[in-house]
Structure formats: structure tokens, C-alpha cells
């Protein structure tokens, strides 16, 4: 069953590649079907029962590699996020025409395949393969459909992320060699390892760099703004909405319980880096003139807060980061879609050249405001739930850090409201005078996003209930791993 959920997008991708002019529709139908299919898992999931829908087959027997997949509360939410966002991302691209659409939408679906796989993998080797697989379609999307500077930027992006991944590969091989008997890559076998603390430091960095680059955490973020700006809108949405979560997820599942001593030793440094990232990226975002670039930097700030929450190792911090991954994914896709619509209608992303959208396009402006406020974490929007839990978790860890991390709410409000002011308020400029009304497909993207913003903002309990036990279990396995040493 779960295998089908993972492989369906890949099959759909193959069909899409050969469907020529109808690729758009085929991809949309496939991704909606995938979402409906994932809903079955959502409703059949029992939060108290731990890892479910497990499939475990031997893959490469003599190397202890198995095809081991399953879903727990954390995974479920991330899989739902993926299956929810991909149809929206595909739909959001309907007002563009891409050359060879079959390939374009096929790559998006291949990407979805790899992403769902990363979240469901319970075998180290399988995880690594999906992790790398996710890189290739997004690289090709950026390479073939990106902006002017794409050739240089995408290569930097690829080599940057691959260097992290390869270090992770060596670390995984090392961990594999430490497992007893004929060696195994199984997650539980890796959790059970008893490593010396000196080794744990090395392993920590070997794994963490891969995740830190993917997220990205300051100072490993330099590839990110250029790539986000230069990638085509759907590519940016995939990168920021889902792919970024791979890094956070990797830390939670593949780092914390495996090297608790390494985390204890270096966690504080990571917390400091994360908080620096929050403040630093917020300040840079404030100075941006390009709206897309502003969102890119705001994304670094948000993910900094999430990673600080994870490394606080408190229940609220971990729980908050799971919820915030979800909310940030939804909001950032919304924001990039807004930016894309503005660019398409006015031909510019420079905020100074815009203005007065409130008068010329009131409905569009309202959607923009709602998503913007959710990103600022106004109470009753989804952003608030996550950030509240995160700052609560960081507060338990260190009050000074919480104070600095809390700046994100103020600074976020500053740069976001500033951007809103420049784009929507003020004089109507020549570019914004004739701002076309929203089309049906555009509304079909915005309305689900707005519904999710309010639903999670007002009644987050179902999501918290699903992820709660899994976060509890994660915390427990970190604790047992620590006390064993």
C-alpha cells in the first residue's frame, strides 16, 4: 500500500512525459489522485500505534540493505504536506507555458516520488538514495527552465548540496560498519549503536552538514537566495515548500537519536548559528528590493527558528518544528505564488516599481494580506501556532536565545508589512494600473492555502494529536540513547 503511494508519482511521471500537450492536465489529475490516496492513510492512521503501514523487504541482502518503509506521526504530516502542495504547485504553473511540458511536469512528479520516499524511509541506504534522487529533478527543472544566470547558479546549488550528501554517505557507511553481525542499515539498528563520544562528534558533523546545507542554516545558506530567485516559480515552491523540510526531518529522524552525545556537545553551537540566522536573514530581507529575494531570505529566517526549536530538544520545540514545517510550507508556497503572479502581470519583482494594488486589485490584495499575516505569525493564523510552540521550546532551553529568536516575530512583521506597504498601498503605478483579475486556476490555488491558514490557526488540535505521540516517542528515544551511554 505505502509503496504504491511512493511509486504512483513515478509511474504518473512516466505517463506525463509521453502525454505531450496534455501533460499539464495529466500531471494535475495524477497529483490530485495522489493527494486523495494519501488522505486514506491520513484517516486510517492511529496516532497511538507508532510506526504503521510498514513494509520491509530485503533489497541487497549481502550488504544488509533493505527496503524498509513506514509512517509515523511526523512522517504522515510531511507526506500530507507534500501531496497537498504538489497539486497546488502544478496548478499554479497553469498560467505559464513551458517548452516540452511533458518533461517539466514529469520532473515535478518525479520530485514528489523522491520526497515521499525520503520521509517514509526507515533504512539508511534507502533514505540516502531518495535523498539524492530528489536532487536530480529539481536540478534539471532549474537548469532547463530557470532564469538567465541559471547555468552558473544551478551548478553551485548542485555541488553545494552534493558535498553535504557525500559526507553523509561516508558517515552512514561508518555507522553501518559499527552495527553488529553482518551489518545493517535499519534505523533501529543505528539507534541501538553504542558509539564513543569522540566518534559521535565526527559523525554529528558528517551528518549535520548535509542537513544544514539543505535547510539551509547560516552560514551554509549562500546557495539558497540565488537558486530561489533564479528557479522557475514551481521549482522555487518545491525547494522552499518541501525540499527544505527534508533537512529538518533528517535532523529529527537520522541525527538526534543516533548521536545524542554529539548533539549534546554541539547542539548549543547549532542553536547559536540558528538564532544568528534568524536575525541575520531577517535584517537582509528587510533591505531587499526584489520581492522574490525577500521571501527567500525570510525562508532562511523561518527555518533558523525551526532548527533552533529542534535542537532545544524540548517537547514543545520538537512539536513546534513539526507543525511549523507544515505551516511554513503552505505559507511560503502561497507567498511565492503571489510573487509569481505579480511578476507575470507587471513584469517586475522590484517592490519600488509597484504600489496601489489595494485599489487596482482588491481581491488579490486580500489574499496577499492573509498569507502575509500568516507568515508574520499573527494569532489565529497557522504561523502563530508553530512559532508559539517553537519560542516556548527555545525559552525552556535558554532565555536569552529565546529573546533573540523572538525577534523573528518583530523583524518578520517589519519586512513583510514593509513589502506589503510598497506593493499594495500607496499610489497606483503605471505597472499596477491594469492588474488582471484572478483566474479560476489561481483562485483554486489560493483558496485551499487560505483555508489551511485559518484551519490550522484556529483549530490545530487534530494535527497536534497526530504528531504528538510521534514527537513523544522521538524524545523518548533521544533520552534512552543518552542514558545508555
Amino acid at each position: 500500500m505505502l509503496s504504491l503511494l511512493i511509486f504512483f508519482p513515478l509511474i504518473a511521471a512516466l505517463v506525463t512525459v509521453f502525454s505531450g500537450e496534455h501533460a499539464k492536465k495529466v500531471a494535475l489529475v495524477a497529483s490530485v489522485a495522489e493527494f486523495a490516496f494519501s488522505l486514506c492513510f491520513f484517516f486510517r492512521f492511529d496516532p497511538a500505534a507508532g510506526i504503521q503501514f510498514v513494509e520491509n523487504y530485503s533489497w541487497i541482502a549481502n550488504l544488509g540493505i533493505s527496503y524498509h518503509i513506514g509512517i509515523d506521526g511526523i512522517t504522515l504530516l510531511l507526506v500530507m504536506l507534500t501531496t497537498f502542495l504538489v497539486p497546488l504547485i502544478i496548478l499554479s504553473s497553469f498560467n505559464h507555458t513551458y517548452k516540452s511540458p511533458g518533461l517539466f511536469y514529469g520532473l515535478i512528479l518525479t520530485m514528489q516520488f523522491a520526497l515521499v520516499g525520503v520521509f517514509c524511509a526507515y533504512d539508511g541506504f534507502l533514505f540516502y538514495v531518495f535523498w539524492e534522487l530528489a536532487l536530480i529533478p529539481i536540478y534539471l527543472i532549474c537548469l532547463m527552465y530557470g532564469g538567465k544566470e541559471r547555468l552558473r547558479i544551478t551548478l553551485k546549488f548542485f555541488i553545494y548540496t552534493l558535498s553535504g550528501s557525500l559526507l553523509m554517505l561516508v558517515t552512514l557507511i561508518y555507522l553501518w560498519l559499527q552495527t553488529p553481525g553482518t551489518h545493517s542499515f535499519d534505523l533501529q539498528a543505528l539507534y541501538a549503536l553504542n558509539l564513543s563520544s569522540g566518534h559521535e562528534s565526527w559523525i554529528f558533523w558528517g551528518m549535520f552538514l548535509a542537513f544544514a546545507i539543505k535547510m539551509p542554516i547560516f552560514p551554509f545558506h549562500t546557495w539558497q537566495p540565488d537558486t530561489y530567485v533564479d528557479a522557475p516559480a514551481p521549482g522555487t515552491m518545491l525547494l522552499s515548500g518541501i525540499m527544505l523540510k527534508m533537512g529538518v526531518f533528517g535532523v529529527m529522524r537520522w541525527l538526534l537519536p543516533i548521536v545524542p552525545a554529539g548533539v549534546a556537545e554541539w547542539g548549543n553551537l547549532v542553536m547559536i548559528l540558528s538564532v544568528i540566522g534568524v536575525v541575520y536573514a531577517s535584517c537582509i530581507a528587510w533591505m531587499q528590493k526584489d520581492f522574490k529575494r525577500l521571501i527567500a531570505y525570510s525562508s532562511i529566517a523561518h527555518v533558523g527558528l525551526i532548527s533552533a526549536g529542534v535542537f532545544s530538544l524540548s517537547f514543545q520545540g520538537l512539536h513546534g518544528s513539526v507543525i511549523q514545517m507544515l505551516c511554513h510550507g503552505i505559507n511560503v508556497v502561497g507567498l511565492f505564488f503571489i510573487a509569481d503572479m505579480i511578476e507575470q502581470r507587471t513584469g517586475t519583482r522590484k517592490m519600488d516599481e509597484l504600489g496601489g494594488l489595494r485599489t487596482s486589485a482588491p481581491i488579490f490584495s486580500t489574499y496577499f494580506m492573509i498569507i502575509m499575516l500568516a507568515s508574520v505569525a499573527l494569532p489565529l493564523t497557522n504561523g502563530f501556532v508553530g512559532e508559539f510552540l517553537l519560542i516556548n521550546g527555545i525559552f525552556q532551553y535558554d532565555q536569552t536565545m529565546a529573546a533573540f529568536a523572538g525577534l523573528t516575530i518583530i523583524l518578520g512583521a517589519v519586512y513583510m508589512l514593509n513589502a506589503y506597504k510598497k506593493i499594495s498601498l500607496g499610489e497606483v503605478s503605471s505597472l499596477t494600473k491594469k492588474f488582471a483579475a484572478l483566474s479560476i486556476t489561481e483562485k483554486a490555488v489560493l483558496i485551499p492555502i487560505v483555508i489551511m491558514i485559518f484551519w490550522i490557526g484556529i483549530y490545530p488540535k487534530p494535527l497536534l494529536d497526530i504528531s504528538g505521540p510521534a514527537v513523544e516517542a522521538l524524545k523518548l528515544s533521544i533520552q534512552t540513547a543518552t542514558t545508555l551511554k
Binding site: 541487497i60 549481502n62 550488504l63 516540452s100 534522487l133 547555468l151 552534493l162 554517505l169 557507511i173 553501518w176
Partner: protein, 456 residues
């Protein structure tokens, strides 16, 4: 054994086909013969017999590598006929290729120093001629001359080495040498030590690893591209199999002496190959440096000295050979239509021929070692074998090398997406067969590596 006879037999048939004017039947005979040779190889599986007074030992290791060599030669014969400019001497070239393959088969199964020498010579002499087979091209002549001069030097070293080892152990037979060495009373023998080092130099030369790699870029670039494709796949695989057979089995008792040297050689080869490839603008030369770098990775299997190593080397050789033959085929098609081998000739390929572009992407990803291709698992497997034996620093260097590798392999992919070269390209279907086979194998072995890993 039957395999050897069949291959040598069709080689001789090739010679006579010129005389008896039955050249047209040559190609079908070659295909049939190679297929038969492949079948006899597979039939011999798990038999482990020795021939010619223990001079040849046909064990699973040799059979697996023989099968790889024959398979790659088979693919090569599908590609090459269209690319020989000189129609009159076609049968000679085919004959020489078959003789080279005979030498390659000897190199995978020798159990005696004499056989090693014979194998290397049969292989090399054929290649010296083939490198210069484009008689009117100055570069081709230069390449053959250079290859011959340098190759003879290396052969000299090999002979010196064999002689010294004979002097120390009193035998050419690998079994006897192995027992003598493992008995431990030769550990301080300077004669044996020098012998092993001289043989090592010769082997390092033959697999084109640093610091004896200087011949490779010039020879690879100067030789006709079809010959380069053969050199960088079949010849390299055969030489590495011989290298492995000799050092990871016979000379293991003296590993303290040569292992460190070979680790350094492996690391420098990986770095030099990859770094120099970055600066190449000629794709053929770039692939030559890439092939040097891959020799470095494969040497990692020799220094790993454990049970996983032979299997890892086999997997790597297969993954490397199929991607390599595919990339040379692509290069042939591109350079035939644009007239040169520069990276600029790849411009606009994605638009002109999406099929070729997809195949290029697969083979470049495989050479760069990115999942889900065979190249990824090959690297992974080699790294595992090396790390099992505490060679983590070497693995880290290899990873740095791979990263640099990504840069230049992706340069080709990126070039395909640049604008330019709107001229139409004409392809015949036979090349597509090779590319499709190589592409399917590269992906299938990447997804199901278990097909190969359990063999040895």
C-alpha cells in the same frame, strides 16, 4: 578455455576472411562467436578448473571479468563498423580487436607470470597498432608511437619484476609464489621487494594511474574515437583485473610494503584525474582524464584487501564500462555531425535530439556517481570495501574527487542546454541500440545492484 579458443578462432577467421574474400560474413561471425564465447563463459561458472599445467586458472573471478570484457566488446562491435574511415583494412582492425580481447581474457585468468606477460603483450601490441589505425592522421600516428614507446618501457619493468620475483621464489607459478610469501621467510628479501615494486610500476602504467598516466590523455585523444572507447573500457578492465589478481591474491603477504604506496597512488590518481579534467575543453580528452580518475577509484578495491573488494571491483568495472562506452558512442555521434570533439559541439543537443540528451544525462550521472545509476552504487560499494579496512582518509579524498568530477561531467550536461548548433543530426539506428542497452543497464544495476553483488 573454450572461450579463449573461440575468441582466438574468430580472430584468425578475420585474418583469412581478407584472403578468401568473405569479408561480408565477418561481422555476423564475430557476433555469433562472441555470443558463443559468452555462453561458454557462463557455462563454466562454479567449475574452477586449471589449464596448461596450472598456467591458467578459470575461477569465478576470471569468468565474471571475462563475461564483462566479452559483453563490452559485443557492444563495441555494434557501434564501431560505421566509424572506420578506411574500409579496406576493416577486417584487420576487427582481428586486432579480437586478439586484444584474447589478451584481456588471459589477463583475467592467468595463474602464472608467463601468462600475465603473454596476456599483456597480446593486448598491448594489438592496441599499439590500433591506436595508429587512422594512418593519415598525424595525431593518430603520434599517439601510436607514444603508446608504443611508453608501453615497451612498462613491459620492460614488468619483465624485470617477474625475473626478480622468480629469483626470490624460484617459480613463475602464482600458487608457489603465494605459499613462499605467506611462509614468511622472504619478508626481508630485497629481490622480492624490488620485483613486486617493478611489477607494480608496470601495472600502474597499464591502468594509467598517476604518476604514470601521462601517456593516456595524448594516446586517448590521438587515437580514433572507436579505439579510445575500446581502450578505456576493455583494456582498462582487463588490466585492473590482472592487477587485482596479482596484488590482492598473490602478493597479499607483502601488503605492508606495497599497500601504502598504492593508497597514495590511488589518491593522487583520483585527484589528478578529476582536477585536470575540469580544465579540458575537448570532450575526448576530458573523458581520458575521467578514465584516469576511475582507475584511481578501482585501485581502491585493490588496497581494500577484503572479501567485498573483488565484488566491488567487478561492479565498478561494469558500471564504468557501460557508461563509458555509452559516452564515447555519444561523442562519436556528436563529433561526426559537428566535425570536432570540443565541448561546444554539444551545444543545443537537448533541442536537436532529446533521446541523445537523455542518454547523455544517464551516462554522465553514472560516471559522476549519482543515484539511481550504477555508477553510484559502484562508488558506494568501493567506499564500503575501503572503509571496512580503515581507509577512511582515502575515501574522503575519493569523495572530494567525486565532487570535482560532478563539475566537469555536468559541464557536458549543461552544454547540451546551451543555445547553438542548429544543424540537423543524422543517426542510424544501430547506435541507438547500444545507448539503450547501456542506459537500461546503468539504471537497472543502480536499482537492483544485488544482481551483481552476490556473484563473487
Amino acid at each position: 578455455m573454450n572461450t579463449l579458443l573461440i575468441i582466438a578462432g574468430i580472430g584468425i577467421f578475420g585474418l583469412f576472411s581478407e584472403i578468401f574474400r568473405i569479408k561480408k560474413t565477418l561481422l555476423p561471425v564475430v557476433f555469433l562467436g562472441l555470443a558463443a564465447a559468452l555462453v561458454t563463459t557462463i557455462l563454466d561458472w562454479n567449475t574452477n578448473v586449471t589449464y596448461f599445467n596450472n598456467m591458467m586458472q578459470v575461477d569465478n573471478f576470471s569468468l565474471a571479468f571475462t563475461a564483462v570484457l566479452i559483453g563490452i566488446t559485443f557492444l563495441w562491435f555494434i557501434v564501431s563498423p560505421g566509424f572506420f574511415l578506411d574500409e579496406t583494412s576493416k577486417s584487420d582492425h576487427f582481428t586486432l580487436i579480437l586478439f586484444a580481447l584474447t589478451g584481456g581474457v588471459l589477463l583475467t585468468s592467468f595463474n602464472n607470470m608467463i601468462m600475465l606477460f603473454l596476456g599483456i603483450e597480446i593486448l598491448s601490441i594489438s592496441m599499439y597498432i590500433l591506436a595508429g589505425s587512422n594512418k593519415k592522421s598525424l595525431a593518430s600516428n603520434e599517439s601510436a608511437f607514444k603508446y608504443f614507446l611508453m608501453g615497451s618501457f612498462a613491459t620492460g619493468f614488468l619483465l624485470f619484476g617477474i625475473t626478480l620475483v622468480y629469483g626470490a621464489t624460484g617459480s613463475f607459478d602464482l600458487d608457489v609464489i603465494t605459499t613462499q610469501i605467506s611462509a614468511g621467510n622472504l619478508n626481508s628479501s630485497i629481490m622480492l621487494l624490488m620485483g613486486i615494486l617493478l611489477i607494480m610500476i608496470a601495472m600502474v602504467f597499464k591502468v594509467s594511474a598517476a604518476p604514470f598516466h601521462f601517456w593516456a590523455p595524448d594516446v586517448y585523444q590521438g587515437a580514433p574515437t572507436v579505439i579510445t572507447a575500446f581502450m578505456s573500457t576493455v583494456v582498462k578492465t582487463a588490466a585492473l583485473a590482472a592487477f587485482f589478481r596479482l596484488f590482492a591474491h598473490t602478493f597479499t603477504g607483502m601488503a605492508d610494503v606495497w599497500r601504502t604506496i598504492l593508497v597514495v597512488i590511488s589518491a593522487t590518481t583520483i585527484l589528478i584525474g578529476n582536477i585536470t579534467a575540469v580544465y579540458q575543453t575537448n570532450v575526448k580528452r576530458m573523458l581520458a582524464y575521467s578514465s584516469i580518475a576511475h582507475a584511481g577509484y578501482m585501485i581502491m578495491a585493490i588496497v581494500a584487501l577484503n572479501t567485498a573488494a573483488s565484488s566491488a571491483l567487478l561492479f565498478y568495472a561494469i558500471a564504468y564500462s557501460i557508461s563509458s562506452i555509452a559516452s564515447f558512442t555519444i561523442l562519436l555521434m556528436v563529433s561526426n555531425s559537428t566535425g570536432n570533439d570540443s565541448i561546444g559541439s554539444f551545444h543545443g543537443l537537448a533541442k536537436k535530439s532529446p533521446f541523445l540528451a537523455v542518454m547523455t544525462i544517464i551516462s554522465m550521472l553514472s560516471l559522476a556517481g549519482i543515484p539511481p545509476t550504477a555508477g553510484f552504487f559502484a562508488k558506494y560499494y568501493i567506499f564500503v570495501a575501503a572503509m571496512e579496512n580503515y581507509l577512511t582518509p582515502l575515501v574522503l579524498i575519493a569523495i572530494i574527487g567525486s565532487l570535482i568530477g560532478v563539475y566537469f561531467y555536468f559541464k557536458i550536461i549543461i552544454a547540451m542546454f546551451r543555445e547553438g548548433n542548429e544543424k540537423e543530426m543524422q543517426f542510424s539506428g544501430t547506435y541507438k541500440i547500444v545507448l539503450v542497452i547501456a542506459g537500461i543497464l546503468a539504471v537497472a544495476l543502480g536499482v537492483f545492484p544485488g544482481l551483481i553483488t552476490g556473484l563473487l
